[in-house]
Symmetry: D2
């Protein structure tokens, strides 16, 4: 069994949300609903997909590498997944290699019966917990951090499954939005800080949980509410819903990067339209960092909403100066006679007739390594652009994420190793500017960042991590990874 | 060998260009250049792909169903295609079923040596010619109309291959842009009316031919010029170029729908930027068919340039009221509990937070069957839009195309069976309007349509077919297919 | 991932050995040696195959459904399995479904390091042990009985791995020949009764373990000795061998059916040539059950050695009256116009020119359900045989095996539901006879069966099971499965 | 599409019949009957298989690489092949590479309608004919010699299909047994010398044609008669049979190697049981070439019938001194530490316990390159055999076959480059002997070879080719390939 490598159109020059989760209870053909919902969350993970269903008696799982449509679009593929309760998972790369054993939902036969779990997030003390569990005789089947939760539940001494589940979660640190299934029903919960998203909806009497509201739209569910940080929602097989809050009420810290890039623009996150947030980042950016130019050009597609905002605020016309191919996929063999930047051009081609001789404001959502930004600016110049000003719809991304987002090491982050002027030289722009951290908070509807008690997790911009990072601290090379003091980072 | 069905994101509610062709002579790893060029033409045909290369001694072909990237992105797949000359083809469905034997380039060992041909277009008397050839003992290997050309060449009595080729083309009617290879070099030619596009470029000393300029951009070639209608360009293995015009000089009739939809917006067709044309259609549309509204919303992605034009002309803000998924693919099983229009929502979801309570101008490039338009308007209303006005960036598409475009029968074309008022009711819009035929000609840079001698082929709008349609006339059911008189159609 | 069903040429009308194991330590390319050895054991299991290797640092596994050659014949498939120690497993169906997770060697990361195990046999109290382990928090990843052993090792409190392994085995009952690997070396052991075979050999300094001597021949190893019942042989990475006998010295009970059918005729089992045993069964059968006839015809291939013996003893010529196809595989669609018994004829065709008008003695190794015997006799009569006498080279198979052999329920065994006369009528033979239980013991070189203390496990013939059958006793339907009193069975 | 290489158990050290053909008309599910019949002919060709059926209106084909069971054992694979007439083909390698286009039946749409042909044999002037046809404008789609026949039919000027077919066959030279289908029915014919076999049978009213009688047995057909050399049997769709003999009545020369090795032992060829022939070769061999020994051991499986004959004639016991694996297939990676001859041992293992210390007479059907014979003799000696005498059930194979059998060049045939003594040294036998050419003719039931007018084609033994070899003569290297004078060859 040779498994294909995942493929992205961005050459690793984007941060990647690592997972999306979806669950439904009380629907006919729950697995088909689940497949549709996961497809709507495909942007959160393209490497692998799994669905587990429960038919009243038994759990059945099906997993595969690749996209939802490649694995779950046929009747045959869904025929074995019977029942009115199902949960599924899409993943990018997670902790753990690209092995089918790591594809979620993970499933175990506990003494209390079947237990399936789909997880979005990252347990930041998983290595330490795993070591301890193995010492006590636990046998791990995957390299996934999620399996730690299952073993903690299995070995907990509390009498009920719910108690054992709470007992387990008390031991884990980090970010998690979980959808679990037992033979009694479904449990959805979110870590105490609510770092990763999770929402609830209804299709008639059926209950739906999903990482984003867009999945509710696509399956025809009405949005009910988000799961609160630290909340545990239990739904039994009759559809009765009970809410538990076993972790008290710490101040939430949802991930602000969901607004910047991860979530679909048609989703509502933390009670605010993501599209609205992105357009307003563009507006803030135009206010903070104006420039004289002929055209506002988005780097498609993620730069489009901010570019619309920038254009509306600045009055400079919004135009498609870069055309994106719909057929991005695997990398091609680069012929030795090929033009420079062919790998970028397969995805993004300059609209030469439009940009020739013009002064361009390019808008992108973020800069990670900077290599793609450099190539796109070169491409614009090759196509005859007179000036290229780069505006970024987020602050400099200078710190790694340990909460379920795939980030390069700090030393590979452009903003982790140079200041804005140096970055501007590196990407060869005529000017470069980022929205300020307070501009970003204004764009998501707040007055400013509350530095004493930030309303969001913005550690990738500030280095201000809201939880301990046990496994990280345990690593030899930890010092090179450890964040700078917050004060320095924000300054 | 079970071959997958092709899959489109449009439920058959778009016209489809049936082919793209690409050739290169004089490049190292010509097949790799070819793969990259075909990838840039993927929008012209997604069902199958083939590349034939010549290594100075022998021709080698490789064909596959699916996308270029699925078949030609690995070194292994290209390793067998050695040599400095190669030509390739992407196709949607052509005349002929979805059998690997129909995948081009077609190849034959003639008495004069190997002969490979890649064809974009459609031979409208292929059936009649084939019947005659079989009577004389020819054995056809495919059901492709292109094979007729090869048999005509094989059985021609003229002494040179070029003469035999001209002799063959004199017998065919219809549209063709051809890239041929022999052991002597490459021949590119375009039918006397130049219905389908074909351009030439250079990478250093290497010569490149392609359906669109975007393929030149992506492989790093400089655009040289388009192949003229009726021109035959011969390049020998040393790169010497000779041009022939064996068909005299009839007035050209390039396909105007290349501007409307087929070509990539970053291509230049008939010496005009396609993006510019589309934006100007939006401008014309705003002038001809204004409406009071809050937002201009494109149906992504094909409606975007016209929507930008409409917005700039009307002053109504351009906004992404519909979000397109990047992960469109196979159809999913529709769960019985699912919302209405889930099949549309997988691809296009309403940006509910934006459109709620608003008056919307929706801009799309064309209406074919109208079923998708109806679903999108329903989706906008479900998301709370107060009014939905539909503006179409082409005239009503009332006639089938017989020149290499997949069109439904006339009775399935919405504009083939009802007038604009009835169409408006059918799609449940608050208002519906199309750009006029003269508005379209203005948008592509002309003063108006010259009805005596139209500058483009616009038969899909007017029924004014520039060539005889021999095979069509020969069919039993021809009368139901035959075009209306031109006068009536334009009125 | 759709997994093919296993396919056998016998329509389920043979008993199937469920597994073969092979291990090698100290060889270059240990995995390649292992693949070759497993190929020689392919007759012991055709459904799935796995190899695990250790490169001094890490364990790597590769598993697949189907034959060894389908999974391990390419360099690519073996390239990842580096190192000088490897163990592998072929299996028919085992306890546990046809899921890759059940394919052995099973592997676990224990607190002491990696632990891999390949198992031939069946743990007859696995269900009871598993239930207890799950209650204590163990999470099982397969449905294999073998995984019980790993969890018992993981949770044992003894200080060394060897002690924990012995501790684990003390809790299991049934049949097991095990090859285990740790980062310290290899452990091979056989259950106290030695029900399933296991031998040791040497290739130079490399140590080899295998289910049968034929695997030693094929890899070029010299036979050293069999592993004794209850013996545990430990080999460290330097090749030092230590033998342990932690289970005392119970009288051995190796499986006599290895002589009858399971082992390859070119293997030596329990210090006796299997071919010799089979030929002598034929000799005993000719003495006990003579018949006047023209030809001795084996049912190929398993009946051949006994037929040679019968022919030599009786003087009736040995002839190939049935020709076996080499291309047996999947079942074909039976055309409605086809002849009767086409499914048998695909594998076995009558040699009509030879058998026409003749009196035939057919020799087969055993009768399980009897359906194939019936069809073969019909086929011989259709081909013109005048008389068909059936002689069976084993006693009636009246009881199920719980030691790693796939047997139908007793009610499906022909000898489980009727006496010899009724069986003769059922298969429509002119006469039917089986070798006696004492004849069988004589054929394997003993004077007779020692009823007080039988020298072999012959439970399938006698119902005399040498171990408790805990799981079986725990089943509802146990009474229908339970053996008859031995006295009655032997009589 | 990556096609697997064929795999054989003999390391190329056998001659291979290149094809088997099967056709049926008048049966329900004709394609399923055809699949079953082809499966019975699998030994005649393992590389590829195809079936074409006719449903009264249209022809449908399905082709695949590999075995019949891999391609035609499922209902799905046969569902598309509807109708009551079908013909199929198995092939080893033919003239033409391993491309699906070369897999037969070949099919063409002629002016008279569909025409399908399955061919066993080889056209020895195909290259010359093809060159001429291409010159006249024919386009070939395969590299198969069989396609020449179709083009000759397509371009013949005779009025009826049957006349055109005869006209075509008059131009070809060599060996052919053909099964053709048109929309009018089936035509089976055999070249004037009847080199390759072809028989006719009946299942009720359905007519069956096949290469061998074993295929009739397996599909439940009664043997009617063989098709005579030079006969053309026409069956219309109502089942009416007409026989034509357009080629006069030359003396037949069927291939004697069908008796030696190609045909299944349970087939009847040229009115004689193949098993009987082989056993009698053994008898002749024992008479001509006796030896004192303890055991007669066949090289399985092809040597078994002759070994039985040798044993019966000599009185030396027949024993299985070599055990053949049922799981032969792809070649394995040879581990560097492996024993010598592991590649042979995977297929054939010495029965050490039996042969140790014994004097062995090994019986094989033929010697081609001799490499396998050498390895088997080494293996017997490694296993302790005291003496190894090699007896071959055919005369020395010194000449290539140009009639549809895959033979090495003469210089690679052991008997093509050395005499019997040298061969004996090469294979390291204690003695080596072949049956004489007259002994072989006696074994097939004749008094002796009629040297003036041989009753069989025995060119591989004698170099006496019964037809001109036009293509061979046209080759540069012809002199090294050309046969020796017959006199010398037979002497």
């Amino acid at each position: 069994m040779i498994l294909p490598k995942p493929h992205f159109g961005d050459d690793g020059d984007k941060l990647h949300e690592e997972c999306g989760v979806f669950g439904v209870l009380g629907a006919n053909e729950a697995a088909a609903v689940c497949a549709l919902g996961l497809h709507a969350l495909q942007h959160r993970g393209q490497e692998a997909v799994g669905i587990t269903s429960f038919n009243g008696t038994a759990f059945t799982s099906r997993r595969g590498l690749g996209h939802v449509a490649e694995n779950f679009s046929t009747g045959e593929s869904l025929a074995e997944l019977r029942g009115s309760m199902a949960a599924g998972h899409v993943r990018y790369s997670t902790t753990g290699g690209s092995d089918l054993r790591n594809v979620q939902p993970l499933y175990a036969d506990l003494a209390s019966g079947g237990f399936a779990v789909a997880h979005n997030g990252n347990i930041s003390n998983a290595t330490a917990l795993r070591k301890e569990l193995v010492k006590r005789g636990a046998i791990f089947h995957s390299s996934s951090d999620t399996e730690v939760i299952i073993h903690l539940v299995a070995t907990s001494r509390y009498p009920t499954l719910l108690d054992r589940f709470v007992d387990a979660l008390r031991m884990v640190e980090g970010a998690y939005s979980l959808i679990c299934m037992t033979s009694q029903g479904m449990i959805a919960c979110r870590d105490p800080l609510g770092i990763r998203p999770l929402v609830m909806g209804k299709i008639g009497d059926a209950v739906v949980f999903a990482s984003e509201t867009v999945a509710l739209d696509v399956v025809g569910a009405d949005f009910a509410r988000q799961i609160d940080p630290g909340e545990m929602v239990e739904v039994d097989l009759d559809g009765n819903i009970r809410s538990h809050r076993p972790f008290g009420a710490p101040a939430p810290r949802p991930c602000i990067f969901e607004h910047v890039y991860f979530s679909r623009p048609d989703s509502v996150f933390n009670d605010r339209s993501v599209y609205e947030s992105r357009k307003h980042i563009g507006i803030e950016l135009a206010k903070e960092r104006p420039v004289e130019a002929d055209l506002v050009v988005p780097v498609p597609d993620s730069g489009v909403p901010a570019a619309i905002g920038y254009s509306q605020q600045s009055g400079i016309p919004f135009e498609l100066g870069i055309i994106r191919s719909h057929y991005v996929g695997r990398t091609f063999i680069q012929p030795s006679d090929g033009a420079r930047n062919a790998s970028v051009k397969r995805k993004h081609n300059a609209n030469r007739a439009l940009v020739e001789g013009k002064r361009i404001v390019l808008i992108d959502d973020s800069i990670v390594r900077g290599t793609t930004s450099l190539k796109i600016i070169e491409m614009m110049r090759d196509a005859g652009a007179r000036e290229v000003h780069f505006r970024v719809a987020s602050p400099p991304t200078g710190y790694g994420c340990y909460y379920g987002v795939d980030t390069p090491e700090r030393s590979k982050l452009l903003a982790g190793r140079m200041d804005v002027d140096a970055m501007c030289s590196f990407i060869k722009a005529d000017s470069l500017a980022f929205v300020s951290i307070d501009g970003l908070y204004r764009a998501v509807g707040l007055a400013a960042r509350d530095n004493a008690c930030p309303q969001y997790c913005d550690a990738c911009f500030t280095g201000d991590y809201p939880t301990p990072l046990t496994d990280l601290a345990g690593r030899r090379d930890a010092e090179t990874q450890l964040p700078l003091p917050v004060a320095e980072a924000i300054a």
